[in-house]
């Protein structure tokens, strides 16, 4: 329980309407999109200015209150679940101004609560392009994207959020404003703290302003759907496309289980007998696009694709992508609980990973559909289960552990884009080393001596 005078101080800083301390409201900030136990915060504050944000952080710092910043709460690893010891949730939803879009210098300056798709749309109207497109982009915030280093479908060619962060302004636990990075392409002034902040999951500072790189959009694109009777062939096709020096902007994969689920749900006319399906899109100058699309088609056929459908119009392109867009919905409807993982392997190891996931599903008698970003090896094995069934859910948790083991044994990583949060911190040492954890914890302790910035996330508990 927070003492009433502290609650008054929060109200004084953020305004009474922006502080929620009633039971019902607090319960609505006790979860995110990860399948984890809810933790109810003691208070929720929604500062409307960055100045108020800094004061809220300082108030937490002065009083040793654990603070968790929340954008849209779409986190898939529990990064926005607050601390059980009088946790404070700080909302960024009122810090949602696009401060500047600079068309001459190709950057945008935003507050952390700006919705990803809103920035993307806004820059598109000015003939520019912000490529990172996480699946939750219609609601996710840029602050959350930077804190998690969010990815998306375009990772292979355009990179992920970290490739677009030019600078971050943030508050430390004393409410001091830290300015890093610049509006210039080149900047070697000071320690590269912006990069330290990207993917720090709210454990090192609280963002107040972000400078993001923009690029010119591609003039043309071409999409195709390619079918295979063997997952290994799909993977060979991916390798052969890259070896031919072609970098598609998207190269998505659906396994047989997902294909059948999508077909049951959307009746899009997908061949349910296909073992694997690739959705490939190339973009760029129209002549280059035509050339690369033809070569991709030839490569796929040469490797033994059982079908290639090239989209001839915008409507056909939309149809190709409809299958991918429906993947999560189609799977999620099969069972009450959806555990969406993002273990990632070097792209040549995709067939091994798919095979292993199929074996894990069979061994634990679970439904697992796998789809994802074949171009960068970032797969989404999706376990369909019911968290109310204790026995089955225990098997699901065991399966998650085994998926991580396999990914690491193949030279991969625990998380491609969802973050470590609470859900995966116990596996972190397995991928890195004891020394890595201790080094990171020393860093955290130096910057956040009272351990109030999203405690327990990424680095676990000492």
């Amino acid at each position: 329980m927070l003492n009433p005078s502290l609650i008054e101080q929060f109200k004084h800083i953020a305004g009474p309407a922006n502080v929620m301390d009633g039971e019902a409201d607090r319960h609505c900030y006790s979860y995110d999109a990860a399948v984890l136990t809810a933790v109810v915060p003691a208070l929720v504050a929604r500062p409307e200015t960055t100045e108020a944000l800094g004061k809220v952080v300082r108030l937490c710092g002065d009083n040793g209150l654990p603070l968790t910043v929340r954008g849209a709460g779409t986190n898939l690893s529990g990064g926005t679940i607050p601390d059980p010891r009088d946790g404070i949730v700080v909302l960024t939803s009122a810090l949602n101004r696009i401060i500047e879009i600079n068309e001459a210098d190709l950057y945008a300056v935003v507050e952390p609560g700006v919705i990803t798709a809103k920035l993307a749309t806004e820059v598109a109207t000015r003939g520019l392009f912000y490529p990172p497109d996480p699946g939750s982009q219609s609601v996710s915030t840029l602050g959350g994207n930077v804190a998690e280093n969010a990815g998306g479908l375009r990772g292979l060619k355009y990179g992920v959020t970290k490739n677009y962060v030019m600078g971050v302004t943030f508050f430390d636990t004393t409410g001091e404003r830290i300015v890093t990075g610049a509006r210039t392409v080149k900047c070697v002034t000071g320690l590269n703290l912006s990069s330290l902040m990207v993917g720090s999951e709210g454990t090192l500072g609280v963002f107040s302003e972000i400078i993001l790189k923009l690029v010119p959009p591609p003039a043309a694109q071409k999409a195709m759907m390619v079918l295979f009777d063997d997952t290994a062939k799909a993977s060979q096709a991916v390798a052969a496309i890259i070896a031919a020096k072609i970098v598609p902007c998207t190269l998505e994969f659906l396994d047989n289980f997902t294909i059948r689920a999508v077909e049951d749900y959307a009746k899009a006319g997908l061949p349910v007998e296909a073992r694997a399906l690739l959705l490939i899109e190339v973009d760029g100058h129209p002549a280059q696009v035509a050339d690369e699309a033809a070569r991709v088609e030839a490569i796929c056929k040469q490797i033994g694709a059982t079908g290639v459908q090239v989209a001839r119009s915008a409507a056909e392109r939309d149809k190709v992508w409809a299958a991918r867009r429906a993947a999560l919905s189609a799977l999620a409807r099969l069972r009450p609980t959806t555990v969406l993982e993002d273990a990632t392997v070097p792209r040549s190891k995709i067939p091994d990973m798919i095979r292993a996931v199929e074996q894990i599903a069979a061994k634990h008698k679970l439904l697992i559909g796998t789809f994802g970003h074949a171009g960068d090896g970032n797969l989404h094995p999706t376990i369909l289960t019911d968290r109310r069934d204790e026995k089955e859910y225990a098997r699901a948790e065991a399966a998650v552990g085994e998926i991580f083991e396999v990914a690491l044994s193949l030279g991969g990583t625990l998380s491609g884009e969802h973050g470590i949060g609470l859900a995966k911190s116990k596996w972190l040492e397995k991928e890195t080393s004891r020394g890595t954890i201790l080094y990171s914890r020393r860093l955290k302790k130096a910057l956040d001596p009272k351990n109030i910035l999203n405690p327990g996330k990424v680095l676990g508990w000492e």
Binding site: E23, D25, Y29, A72, A117, S136, R388
Partner: protein
Amino acid sequence: MGVKPLADLRELHRQLLELDDQLVTCMRCGMCQAVCPIYAETGREALVARGKIALLEHLGHDLLKDVDGVKDRLETCLLCGACAANCPSGVKVLDIFIKARAVLNTFKGLSPIRKLIFRAMLVHPDRFNALVSLGSKVQGLFVKPVSEVLGSSCARISVGALGDRHFPVLAKRSLHAEVARLDTPAGAAGIRVAFFPGCLVDKIFPRVGQAVLKVLKHHGVGVFLPDHQACCGIPALSAGDLNSFNDLLDKNLACFGGGNFDYLVTPCATCTATISKLWPVFADSAATERRAAVTTLAAKALDINVLLTDILKIRPDGVSQNGKRKVTVHDPCHLKRSFGIAAQPRMVARLNPEVELVEMQDADVCCGCGGSFTLLHYDIAGRIGARKRDHIVATGADTVATGCPACMLQITDMLSQAGDQVAVRHPVELYAETLG
């Protein structure tokens, strides 16, 4: 109010957990935040579907004590269905919310004012009609006209629920007073429809009902219009009063059950959605005979626009070049979200050769009415409605057409308050004007 006995709370938890199979399908992805009009205004998680579902789950599992807090959040909802239409895992949000409202209502009891409105008036159609008829005669004492184009008025003195609203007054004579009953055989069209005008068309917009009858007659459609029709029940359902809902349903079954007609046609999107989607779910299912009658009627419910364009195949040819009247169309949630109906009302408007359609931004975003929502949460409803008004005015249209009289009310209020000279019409009115 004394503290509720433990047994009641256990019963509350038990009833909420009956919804658990539906609640658990929410995977907390948060995609509902993208489309919820109330979330867009308030940014509050407790007012978006994900938050409300979490509250119901936590209350059902006894993790949360504040029943009033949950009830208040749950009732701050337009029931527009945008979240359900956008939900990746297909959560049946409206079913959950209406059932939960009924559960919480049983626990807390219906408010005295609602009890009076539903149980003393709404479920007695003849009494309701008599009161409205009386009201239409004396309302001039209390309200004064504001806009001729919109036909709106406001209270002479700001009082109670009327506040500063601008509203179309009760019609001098309601539709049922003009046309008590009809029973005509199928003509040239070869079909016969039962006509369910709905309360708002009957009492406030009888001109829409007259337009429907004119169009049906013109196309040789037989009409069955029984008297003593009752409200479709949505106000009672959304307030969680299942008893009044089932009383109303009985009265309507008595009017229409076993009738000889092909479709049950309404000019009200909300009535169509209620009859088609909610009657089968919420009808007391004890008697199989009653259940069968409800299912049959639900399957026959049809929006007037769809009847004209899809069944009778009356469609405009080409694109109007005339452009004497610029019309923009607002999509009622109960057509677009509930049925995916959007093209049909536009086609019906264009059956008037003078009409040139201009699209507004966010045509399918809720107008903020939400039935009784606007009575209880006029502030949020007004902010959402003001956006709709801005989008309408930005088109430069002289008329906004929409297939729901509840939207017509809300939009009239918003335009009238802003002093705009934009008329509000049902698409079928635009077509009926062209038929001699």
